[in-house]
């Protein structure tokens, strides 16, 4: 027994030693920045993609000889749960060494934590959550967001739908704030354009079977099924539409703009619509650069829809720190006057709420297993037709 004890205490001692080494290895000009996202649970794919992208931004910056500081990325997991989010947010904000952070994919976690960031005067840039309230409920200098809100998204969505000439839409949304918000704003926008919502169905995020809802929808026989929710159930709903022989256009939100959606459906994904804030990454000069470097890093998850935003957010933070030094107050001031700033998601301009107002919305349609920008798709040119498209 005592031998075991000795061994273990040895391990312990050496652990302490290593710890000490790491501690002493810290150079003077080291600066900590943070990332928070869902690394476990149902939407962890997006969280991991976002983390990798932020990590990439830091790596590239550290590789850059001109950089004034050496950056260390602190990553925390909000599990897409508000209570956990409040905890980790407090942890990060309370850690004086961390200057700023790119935070949150899930709206519920972002909305729960903004007060924490404000309380601690901790500058953050939301990289994925789309609920308007996050920036607009209160006027917090600390809180920014590179991606647009779901309002812009749904305006664009409704516009395209009615432009194509669809009049009757059935809505399915998950009962999280994300889905409910989308339902609300899309229905408003579509009604304004004279469209008709023939039915609205809330579904729970862990639901597997949608045949009951879809059968009802089939009876209502809409031209379009609008889906406000994330990839996992998006995939299920689309494939079950097929099971029931429903021939309607599947019209998704930013939540399904992910490689996972296409992998999950294969050919069935063809002709699905989706919308995402920001200019299409691959079209921007630095976007290509991002894609290439991401690939070079051999991460085991793709960046997913919001990886680019996470990268952009982190880049903005690093730029600011380079400019004004590792000081929260200064960084906040600096972020306040971000105007017309080029990024891999297009120009970024923060309004007085820290919201990026350059809400370039990209319209996507799935064509041959890829998310193709609508305007360059064969659907726009009329070469191919969506079901029911004139």
């Amino acid at each position: 027994m005592s031998r075991i004890a000795r061994q273990l205490s040895f391990i312990f001692a050496s652990a302490l030693f290593v710890g000490a080494l790491v501690a002493t290895a810290q150079a003077k000009d080291k600066v900590k920045v943070g990332f928070i996202g869902p690394l476990t649970g149902g939407v962890s794919a997006n969280g991991l993609g976002g983390r990798n992208s932020a990590d990439l931004a830091v790596k590239l910056r550290n590789a850059d000889a001109k950089a004034k500081y050496e950056y260390e990325l602190v990553v925390l997991d909000d599990e897409c749960k508000p209570n956990v989010a409040v905890q980790v947010a407090t942890k990060m904000a309370a850690d004086k060494e961390i200057v700023a952070a790119a935070t949150h994919y899930c709206s519920a976690t972002a909305i729960a934590t903004v007060d924490v960031y404000h309380k601690f005067g901790f500058p953050i840039i939301v990289w994925g959550a789309v609920l308007p309230d996050i920036t607009y409920r209160a006027k917090y200098a600390e809180v920014h967001r590179v991606n647009g809100t779901m309002i812009n998204q749904n305006d664009a969505n409704a516009e395209l739908i009615s432009k194509i000439g669809f009049k009757n839409v059935a809505v399915i949304h998950d009962t999280t704030d994300y889905g409910k918000g989308h339902n609300e704003y899309f229905s408003k926008a579509f009604a304004k354009l004279g469209g008709k919502i023939v039915g609205t169905f809330g579904v729970t995020a862990d639901q597997q079977d949608f045949t009951a809802e879809l059968t009802q929808i089939k009876a209502l026989n809409p031209e379009v099924i609008y889906f406000g929710g994330l990839t996992p159930i998006g995939v299920r709903i689309r494939s079950q539409m097929d099971k029931l022989g429903i021939k309607a256009v599947f019209d998704g939100t930013s939540g399904i703009v992910s490689d996972a959606f296409i992998q999950g459906l294969g050919p069935l994904a063809e002709g699905s619509l989706a919308f995402r804030e920001g200019a299409p990454t691959e079209k921007l000069p630095r976007g290509k650069f991002f894609m290439e470097n991401y690939a070079a890093q051999k991460y085991d998850n793709p960046p997913e829809a919001y990886g680019a935003f996470s990268f952009a957010a982190m880049d903005l933070i690093l730029d600011s720190i380079e400019k004004v030094g590792p000081d929260r107050k200064k960084v906040i001031e600096e972020l306040a006057n971000v105007k017309e700033r080029d990024s891999i998601v297009g120009k970024v301009t923060f309004d007085d709420h820290g919201q990026n107002t350059v809400a370039a919305i990209t319209k996507y349609v799935v064509q041959d297993g890829k998310f193709v920008e609508w305007d360059d798709s064969e659907y726009a040119t009329g070469k191919r037709k969506l079901p029911g498209q004139r």
Binding site: M1, S2, I4, A5, L8, S9, I11, F12, A13, S14, A15, L16, V18, G19, V22, A23, L39, T40, S44, L48, R51, V75, L76, D77, C80, K81, P82, N83, V86, Q87, V88, T90, K91, A93, A94, D95, S107, A108, I111, A112, D115, V116, K119, F120, L131, D133, T175, T176, D177, K180, G202, T204
Partner: protein, 387 residues
């Protein structure tokens, strides 16, 4: 234990030493930031406990706790205050600490239900949530004094819990398990789809304030800046102490005996005059009441409530705390709560592998020490009482 060992009163020293060591260790662990250091500390803890176990020291400790609880209890409170003082300006650690205290209160409630009366409750987190939502609603829309809010939170949890009384009383074993599991699932979905209480987005909770003293502002003692969480620490500590004493007295009373009797053999118990229903109800309501109070306070601490804070999974965590600690032993619960709340948090940097590790830990625990860390000793109404 032979009668001789029982007669001679257990020495105080082992308990005090154990308390001092664990306090020091706790401070070290909470303060540790570097991953290797943390892992080292954890490994060390495991080794130390194993060693103490083989050397028979754990027995000494548990005996001195069993016999000299009165004194050691006070020391334990002091120890907690020392830790809090050490981290007086560290918001996060204090938040973590407060979380531990309130989870302990909640699991003490579960302990009355399951540990004593044998009434399964897989909806612990739900009743915790009912408390939290109560304080969210009351602190937002009314001016009810906040201490009263806590009380109402508890009562509401008990009240809503009483909707389940009929099935809970009629069912046994796994059937009873289903009742609370179903309740946990439906309550979460309900809160999510029903917008009155903020829907999936949840609600903000106003910080606590008593007699104009706002709990959410940092304050200073002398020249030293104090974290506002220190306020919550004080209240939570009081709440925990009160609950602990209550549960102890309950166990060491005829009521505790009744609950044990009905848990162990309902038929025999009812043949000796025990009104099964009455005592099951007492345990279930009292338990939920305590859980509700803890939840109400936790809501104010977290400043935010949302449905998926209170899922079935969270209820399971509470139940696993109960098993890890050693069913029926309040001290065990305190230890187990620290482990379950602090360790996964400390392992943040293993990120996506955390949950996997946690599950494995519980499995190992159940396999190799199914009776829990500190098994419940046989009831002594007055530990040091001699006929």
């Amino acid at each position: 234990m032979s009668e001789v060992m029982q007669k001679l009163r257990a020495p105080l020293l082992p308990g005090v030493v154990a308390l001092a060591l664990s306090t020091a260790y706790l401070i070290a662990l909470l303060a540790a930031e570097k991953q290797p250091l943390i892992i080292g500390l954890l490994a060390f803890a495991v080794a130390a406990v194993l060693a103490a176990h083989y050397l028979g020291w754990l027995n000494l400790v548990s005996r001195s706790f069993a016999d000299r609880e009165d004194v050691l209890g006070v020391y334990a409170i002091l120890a907690a205050c020392v830790v809090a003082a050490f981290f007086h300006d560290n918001h996060f650690v204090l938040l973590l600490f407060v979380t531990v205290l309130l989870y302990t209160v909640a699991t003490l409630g579960l302990n009355i239900q399951f540990g004593y009366a044998g009434v399964l409750n897989f909806a612990g987190a739900s009743f915790f949530g009912i408390g939290a939502y109560t304080s969210a609603v009351l602190s937002t829309y009314t001016a009810v004094p906040h201490l009263l809010v806590l009380l109402i939170g508890g009562m509401l949890a008990a009240l809503i819990g009483s909707l389940l009384l009929l099935p809970v009383l009629r069912t046994r074993g796994h059937y009873a398990a289903l009742v609370t599991i179903a309740f946990a699932l439906l309550l979460k979905t309900f809160l999510e789809v029903n917008d009155v209480l903020g829907g999936p987005q949840g609600m903000q909770v106003k910080g606590m304030s008593i007699l104009g003293w706002s709990f959410n502002d940092n304050f200073e003692i002398g020249k030293i800046e104090m974290s506002f969480y220190l306020n919550y620490f004080v209240v939570s500590m009081l709440l925990l102490t009160g609950t602990f004493v209550l549960v102890r007295r309950l166990e060491r009373s005829w009521i505790g005996l009744n609950l044990d009797a009905l848990r162990l053999d309902e038929i025999a118990a009812s043949c000796f005059g025990l009104d099964i229903a009455r005592w099951k109800i007492t345990a279930f309501l009292l338990g939920n009441f305590l859980i509700g109070i803890a939840g109400a306070l936790f809501g104010m601490v977290g400043g935010f409530v949302a449905p998926n804070n209170y899922t079935f999974a969270d209820s399971l965590i509470m139940v696993s705390i109960l098993l890890l600690g050693g069913i029926g032993n309040p001290w065990g619960l305190v230890v187990a709560t620290f482990i379950v709340v602090v360790v996964p948090e400390k392992l943040q940097t293993i990120q996506e592998y955390r949950i996997l590790l946690y599950a494995l830990m519980v499995i190992m625990m159940l396999l190799f020490r199914p009776e829990g860390l500190l098994p419940r000793p046989v009831r002594r109404y007055y530990p040091r009482w001699q006929a």
